[in-house]
Amino acid sequence: MTRSSGLGLGVGLAALLAVGCGDPLAGLDYHGDPLATVQGLVRLGSTPAPAHALYVVVGWRAEATPDFWTGEVVNVSAGFPASYTLDLLRPPPLEALSVDPETGGRLGFAFVALMEDVNGNGALDVDTSSRGLPAGPDRFRGGAETLMLAYAADPFPAQSKIGQALGALAPGFHLMQADETFQCTWDDARNDWLCPNARTEVTEVPFTTAVDLKVIEQPSEWSPVHAPDWLFL
């Protein structure tokens, strides 16, 4: 090998090495690295397939404020059951979190829900100005009944009241499994679910747990578990 060809080979290898060692270049379709990822199946059951696309969204239920229906939107349009993956790219707004009177830490719970894009605008489009089920134009079409999301803005040690009930919580997202015994029922008069006055048993499960979503036609067909808001009493 001549000196010049050796030099050229060296430069080429160095260039390839540099390319291989670098980070991927992010475009404007990059939304950040996920804080957590929820995945599972969307199941129809006996319900006919929706006429419009379904979105997987996250609905935060705060005690003192209107609900926040936020989160990343995942288009579910394949045949059913359809798999989905939802990256949680940012924390919920602080208003969606409740304050623990014991530690002062902030903690919130959310349902993973399905919305139908009735107006076909490709985005979550609901009116959450009043409590209860959000008004349209997009339509609520079910979700996970016994699995919910929790987000801890602050750490909750195992010795704390919340830590004793849920286990120690580090800041960030957590996936929680609730006892099916304490499911809520739909109340037309309140336009919301009515939950029994009971303390739901909630335990953390890993995010590898499938969060399957049930498609419903009417709100009364969906029986979510009660969010453990008693923790903040």
Binding site: A15, V19, G22, Y30, L89
Partner: protein, 513 residues
Amino acid sequence: MTARALPALALLLAAAPTPAAAGTARYALLVGNNRGHADDAPLRFARSDARRLARILIDLGGFPEENTVVLEERRGEAVRRALLSINERVRRSVSGGGRAMLLVYYSGHADARSLHLSGSSLEIEELRKMVAGSAATARVLVLDACRSGSATRVKGGKPAPAFAIKIVDRLSSEGLAVITSSAASEDSQESDGLRGSFFTHYLVSALRGAADRNGDGQVSLTEAYGYAYANTLRETSKTLAGPQHPTYQYGIRGKGDFIITRTDRAAGHGALVFPEGGHYLVLRDGPQGAVVAEVLTERRARVVLPAGRYFVRRRRPDLLLEGWVRIAAGERARLETGAMRRVAYAQLVRKGASARALSHGPQLGYLIHGPVAEGLGPISMVELSYPLSLRHLTLAPRLAYGHFGGDNDYLALEQHEVAASLGAYHAFDLGHLSPFVGLAVGWTLAHQRFESEGVAPDRTSHLLHIGAEGGLDLHLLRGLYLQLRGAALTFVGREPRATITYQAAAGLGWQIR
């Protein structure tokens, strides 16, 4: 085989006086053979060299057309017969006490003993004796012999063993001069650029007046030889085959020098006057035309050319001037060097018209390239380049910096980008414009920072790019030029794997040298 006479243009010259003393009849035999022996590589310009010299002799030398015989691709026997015939005419011409000049010129292949004439041979010694034995009072034999054709042409090749054209005895004969285009152990050469042999090219220029050092309007054989010698030696020293030293032997005792051409009274011709010393090329039909004269002079000089419009190029070590001049019959046209266009340094190098093999200088410009990843662009950059122009290729190392900002519903992105690249292109010079095409390769370092409610760590990415580019240099004044460039580039990285995008640039450059 029949002798081929030149066209009747010479009839126009019938009234032209002969350069030699009044009453001297002039005869010429010019032989041009591109083909030699079977193992000789064909030459390209031997025939045209013979025609060119014949034209000069008729136009400026007072050689009547009927006395000027041009033989092309003829065998040895035909040459022998033609020379015997001319000698007979010379003998009859001088029998009444008149004077005569005989000039015999050969361009073609030869070896140490004989000329190679289309598969036949003619002994050089026999030819010399035939010339020496002529009854002419002035006899000139010019041998521009190239033995191995392409092997010794400027384009290179394998030189054949050296040979010497030997003129056996000293030129005891009075009134005999013998010129060979190269010395022993040397090959004579043709030039594609000159479209002729070096020696004949300079001999023709000399006879047009370039060799008229004393300015008396006459070019003597000694002046012509001196001019052809100096310039043939200078130009062939740059070739692969090496320097070529023409030789000149004469025995003119008591007869003075031979005047070959006169440049002051040629019908249908005009004079081009070079007001100051320098190196000038005069081309017919424009920059790509044939070189009709090459003048190297230290002082004012002139050449005589047929009336018409000519392109003149003046060479200086770091400068090239070009312009047009119209020559009217019977008039003098002065070359206005101040009005000639100055050729850019890079064009100079590309023309091979400079002693320098490299032109260079900085260039600063604006560059924009299309998105390499989704929504990531177009990105504006500042580019600093330093093009190096060689004869056939320009290499342009470039360094660019750019910044880009953008956002989406989740984050805001800020990117700083540094790119190092190398462009390699070939330029085509068209007056003030030099369009070019080539390739570009490079490396880009991109650093990205994000503002996000979530997690989006900084990223440092490396990208390689390669692609085709093209553009245009517009030459302004004193080495300044404007460059417009476009490219289609493929960027390759860890992610995205490969993206094709565009690049456009505009820059202002300055060629220092």
